[in-house]
Assembly symmetry: C3
Amino acid sequence: MEAIVKSSGSTNLLQGCVLSNVFYEPSTRTSSSFYAAMLRLGGLVVPINAETSSVKKGETLEDTVRSLESYSDVIVLRHPEIGAAQRASDVLRIPLLNAGDGAGEHPTQALLDAFCIMKEFNVTTFDGLTVTLLGDLKHGRTVHSLAQLLSHYKVKLNYVSPDFLRMPEKVFTEVKGRGVPQHVCNDVRSVLAETDVLYVTRVQKERFTDMKQYEEAASLYIVNHALLAAGKAKSTLRILHPLPRVNELAFELDSDPRAAYFRQMEAGLYVRMALLALVLGRVPPPSPKFPAKL
Amino acid sequence: MEAIVKSSGSTNLLQGCVLSNVFYEPSTRTSSSFYAAMLRLGGLVVPINAETSSVKKGETLEDTVRSLESYSDVIVLRHPEIGAAQRASDVLRIPLLNAGDGAGEHPTQALLDAFCIMKEFNVTTFDGLTVTLLGDLKHGRTVHSLAQLLSHYKVKLNYVSPDFLRMPEKVFTEVKGRGVPQHVCNDVRSVLAETDVLYVTRVQKERFTDMKQYEEAASLYIVNHALLAAGKAKSTLRILHPLPRVNELAFELDSDPRAAYFRQMEAGLYVRMALLALVLGRVPPPSPKFPAKL
Amino acid sequence: MEAIVKSSGSTNLLQGCVLSNVFYEPSTRTSSSFYAAMLRLGGLVVPINAETSSVKKGETLEDTVRSLESYSDVIVLRHPEIGAAQRASDVLRIPLLNAGDGAGEHPTQALLDAFCIMKEFNVTTFDGLTVTLLGDLKHGRTVHSLAQLLSHYKVKLNYVSPDFLRMPEKVFTEVKGRGVPQHVCNDVRSVLAETDVLYVTRVQKERFTDMKQYEEAASLYIVNHALLAAGKAKSTLRILHPLPRVNELAFELDSDPRAAYFRQMEAGLYVRMALLALVLGRVPPPSPKFPAKL
């Protein structure tokens, strides 16, 4: 997909296919990335969002997607409720891709994160990597999906968060069941030296009731040059972030070669192109070395 | 159009043509159906809606559409005011399709309803059919348009509604003028046995001032398996609904072969493709056996 | 570009190129004109607006456009802040077109205004023309951009506005520096007889604190047949307006051949097509007779 985009910009692989790009929540990155992915594959896009559509008129999600199915070949759905993608998919004959279901999953984000890591380290496996997940691990659907994906490989995972924003027990247990070592701590400096991938997410102010507690926490979760130096970060470290950032990643890092977050965004385009082509049966399924669950 | 979609998904019939898809009111079904129709015909779509455009800045509708005309080949317009489509059309040199003008008309819905009936009964005329229109017949622009369309054929029409939500006198008189028998009643069970097409619309709670009256009425206008059995509905009955539904059609009906409402939605795609190609002069006009007024 | 649109409707000049059409403020004309321009050139469009995107989540403009860059070939940006387009452009490797930055500039509007004048008078220069700018010259970004553009030619400029809505000193000084005569007055009738191009903009009621003052002013800034006759307007006069109008241009003028404002809108399509093709390197740059600053 990257080769197609870089050589000719687009292809006609999905000619005649219509994507309904359905976003019940505002989104820039995921929505427009899927949109561009479909267009660059030669497909057609009908955008649907809550503001301009009648999805708020009291119709069930199931009825809405069955209606869209009547003129679509594939649906991409972002919805605020956990499990919405599964519910919608259950009534459809056409494929549906989950673009985020509340605090549930964000599987295409995890796949693009993984693809970005592969590209940054020029590898085809994650074996041997130490990945540190930083920030609000409780509510962040992207870190839930990524930890689960990486647990199929021989990785080490560090979880760095305030105590009350820890990785959910459910994810912890699933990862443990695959024999992947997981280390939990509050201070990223203690694990930075061994870290290959630092995956940063925001600690949202509104999660805190005690502002003093927030300020203490925030100072620990702002990544900048001083922190990287203090923690003796590797020169081969790669910093990822699902974006948007507010202040948890200093702008001074943008020109650092270790900052991979804008390249990560680009990886999303190729991954979503591949997924669309895959579910529409226009490319062969991935090789068996990838876990079937992916 | 159906053959095009089912064989290759799209065609290049409308290559180089731009549709301005203008929706002053939220819409999922009509908006996205026209959108997909234009794309599947190889045309281009510029979407315009009240939320993201400056249509609320005080400009007249006439000025807006004349502006859009400067880069468009055809306009689809939904507008909250009766007569808006006619007003807009009067100042344009390019064709405009009415996608609903307030409580006025919704002609493309009537055409897709008619096309769906033809397909369900595998006929090319409506002669001999008994069609029962159920629900809020006063405010429903779809039933107004459908009754007028069907009145050009040898049909029987039943109107089932609460007294204060009856079919407007204007429609009743026009249909009567064509010699079509019309029967008015409050209880659908009295006419279900003879009905070939049951066209269900919602009785909206907000129309009632007396909630007791609403509850009595609502119980009469909810279609489910029990009602079909009590009314001795034919096995060849077809149930249509313009969607969205709230609770007036039980979900248990969805798997009943008599439930045609999702197939009806699909018919909309083909009808709107045909209409776009027709008004842009890319397909020959319909044969003379169709009434000229259509 | 006009020949392409009038002969075949579209071309494949920008095949495989993606435009992110980013509007932080509502817009009908500029947004949809760029949208149609890109589509008619065979390009692909991903629309982004503040209502349906997450641009309000606290992300900087710079981060947003760098994210969009990862799947786009060109960005069109409308933003409420002066200088926003420059700021965004500074962090991008791909081209960005300014579609209006607050009360700052609206350069593509000035280019389309200029192109419209060329077409109306069938000339390739503006030398010798007397152009009268009428209305709110203080806040109107279109008149700022147009005066600057025309000042590269041997024109005469008349500025007609209430005293407190005069052309900003900055623009006045820049134009004066190029030796272009500028005449300031309050009554359009005093300069109408010599005027070749009357460029009308609205005097917005909300700018006035004294309603009596507004009513006096408004009566001077409403252009209609009576005013044109009273001012002895030329038969070759051309009236332009960036639209939307409210009441400052009487509808009775629409059928007058001197009313060029709807043709002006059409010119915008061709100019924006040319600009997109130009910045994407698909057409040669304009000939040296055009000032390099354009």
